[in-house]
Symmetry: C2
Subunit: 485 residues, 2 copies
Amino acid sequence: MQYSYGELARRIEREIRQGHYPVGARLPSVRECASGHGVSVSTAIRCYRHLESQGLVEARSKSGIYVADWKSRRKPDVGDLAGARKPSRAAPPQYEQLMSLPHRMTELYALTAQTLSLGLHLAHVAPQWYPCQALSDIGQRLLRKDPMAIGAYPTGTGLPAFKASLINWLGACGVDLGEHDLLVTHGSTEALNVALRSVAQPGDAVIVESPVYFGLLQMIDNLGLRAVEVPCVPGAGISLEALEFALEHQHGVRAVVVSAVFQNPLGCAMSDRDKRRLLKLAEQHDVAVIEDDAFGDLSPAVERPQPIKAWDRNQRVIYCGSCSKSLAPAFRVGWVAGGRYHARIETLKLSNSLVAPLFEQAVLAEWLNSGAHLLHLRRLRERLALNLPLALDAVARHFPAGTRVVSASGGWWLWLALPDHVDTLALLKRAVAQGIAFAPGVVFSSSTKFVNHLRINTGRPWGRDMERGFETLGALVQSAPVRVS
Amino acid sequence: MQYSYGELARRIEREIRQGHYPVGARLPSVRECASGHGVSVSTAIRCYRHLESQGLVEARSKSGIYVADWKSRRKPDVGDLAGARKPSRAAPPQYEQLMSLPHRMTELYALTAQTLSLGLHLAHVAPQWYPCQALSDIGQRLLRKDPMAIGAYPTGTGLPAFKASLINWLGACGVDLGEHDLLVTHGSTEALNVALRSVAQPGDAVIVESPVYFGLLQMIDNLGLRAVEVPCVPGAGISLEALEFALEHQHGVRAVVVSAVFQNPLGCAMSDRDKRRLLKLAEQHDVAVIEDDAFGDLSPAVERPQPIKAWDRNQRVIYCGSCSKSLAPAFRVGWVAGGRYHARIETLKLSNSLVAPLFEQAVLAEWLNSGAHLLHLRRLRERLALNLPLALDAVARHFPAGTRVVSASGGWWLWLALPDHVDTLALLKRAVAQGIAFAPGVVFSSSTKFVNHLRINTGRPWGRDMERGFETLGALVQSAPVRVS
């Protein structure tokens, strides 16, 4: 029988764990292993690579493969939620994969598993900037009050109490919804997923902003759809002229996905006039508008700008939101209001993952009703805004001339254009080696337009670590080799 | 331009909602519609069928197609955490929809929103039969110990501590997995969803058991796949002879979905020999095996039977599990081990809903490691088993001659074959009017094979309410009109 590398790895792993090969023992060479188990050399190599990634073996150059000191690998303590913040997987990131549509998100997330002193590659803020204690208190009280709820078999489209408070909140943002217009999802990721599936079939095209959140590009590809990237006008959002042209000339376009209030990575907001113009274009060309408003509540504007959904007379906008950025990342709670497509979205969501967990929804319902949310958002935006001048100053002092801050996104992150010759993917490899990670420009597009761009998270207390991190990064940019393109 | 039925339906839906066609108005006939929009008659038919499934139009036999009373949807009141157990939505169930693939699950769940004295239509047990208090205590402790975890931005394939304890648990069931072979999902529903998408493209076929869980049929339809139903041998699981024939004669089959340990609704288990035979067939015909083991831990057998995955030498089995039936329904935590398809499953899952919430995983990790799980499962199985004779006795006393208990599923539910003339869908309407709901046979197949069957949940303390419920139901069966077929 012919082993797959995985089976072979499992077999050898068993032998190691059972002590046939003690720590430090030399394992058969790749060729010995291949002939010994009747597999190809490449299979044997993949097998050992896999075992190495598991920390079970280590290859010593020239000398061979040895059993690593796998026992002393610290097991995450049980129930240690912190374990989640640093997954135990530590396979080296496959940087090239960051350019492959189906993997860029996967690999960018894999970066988090590396031992980093500064992981600035994802868009989140420091945990202590969220009202964790208050949410935890609510959660403890609810569990005490109604433990039996854990045994309840949830059905429906979301916890009624949560939907009610969410509807009030969205109403204040200009989005007028009834209970049957809203569906609770597993984060805005699932919301976007069922939204896309409700209006587009494999082979269809979807218009997205450019640059755009890498996760959306991977999602569209995984659904067998084509992403048509329409450029954004810095500060103004998607170019409506380019959008109109795309709608006139691209075939099979079913939807336009936009973040009108706070775009990722540009952090820009569309004017109300442009929102109405976009709706008109969508109407004329009979396409859906999928609005990703996950960052909407974090707009640096004094008055929270209204999402496109607020102008949606013809129920053409599928509105997607989330509390993962604004309130409780670990809760993974999002929502979707599908307008005319809502019935289809309901059946897709149901057979995608049934319903969202009850506990998080109950906590969020109480939090929203407590009235503390507005205050929390104001404080969070203030904290982010305070970081802004510090981050800009650090860039000015440490980065080479020719570096341009395209957008500062109210302190969430910086979107930087480095000198043309800098390849930020190559830069990332060198930065990770020094314990610093950011999101390279290439992941925000299928094109190579943003090869010299990067998004770097600034949503954390600005201390010496950040100062030093920017200094290190700036030095790496200074010494960046000239890109061969 | 040539409309697809979907586009045409969207257009007519718009005209209805905008009032061009008021409620009660007669719509163009299928032929008028076809010629009017330059589409084929079949397209027009699909279009109207779709609008009908959305409750926008109704076909009156002989007379034509009319705009339905789509506006009159009752608004419910806001609930609390308990509200989750009885969603406030109370639109009358659309019983015909239970026969439509994209809606059977939706509508069956909608039944829960009715005011029922006995909702026996879903497969769950009484909340007090789950260790809710213990799980709630663990949850409170974790929230107290590490509130900041709520602010953590989760990445990776699941909470390491939970995956570790789950791997131990599955190991005891004969499933040998490493950390990188396992992915935490939003219940087994999402696990099955990404499993199907990892091996099949729209248009492909998937073999399922018959009768089978209605949610799987809706899911397969929503993914644009074809379900090929292969009959089960009561007590033995899927017929391997029929399966072999199907694999030889059906085109585009990519996977076989089976529940080898505890089938829903038949509650039967495959022999270990049949499991190996099934794997061999899958190997010969190069199809994946998707194993739904959500009920596996609840097998009435003294020794928990091993899932097919335990024999999976060639990494061809995608193993899907969940704690929604065995431990904590409201947690919505499941898992998938994708074998050779795992890498593809990882990227699909990531862009389907990122990661699972941390809290539930942390609670489950601690629970599994406490060692209390085995004891809980034994007690749960005992409780279910104690119900069995009572339920069987109630059927014997109250149901008419010719009623056959096809399977008693260890006390979880009964799968009954009523006298041939009984239409259990019609029966359901009359039962709901009396506050009792069950799952009618039609939802477990695309065929009409099980029109006189029903699945009725028995997983709750057997009191006078159950006794009276079975009595009422029996009387309704006695008086059931002769079915016109």
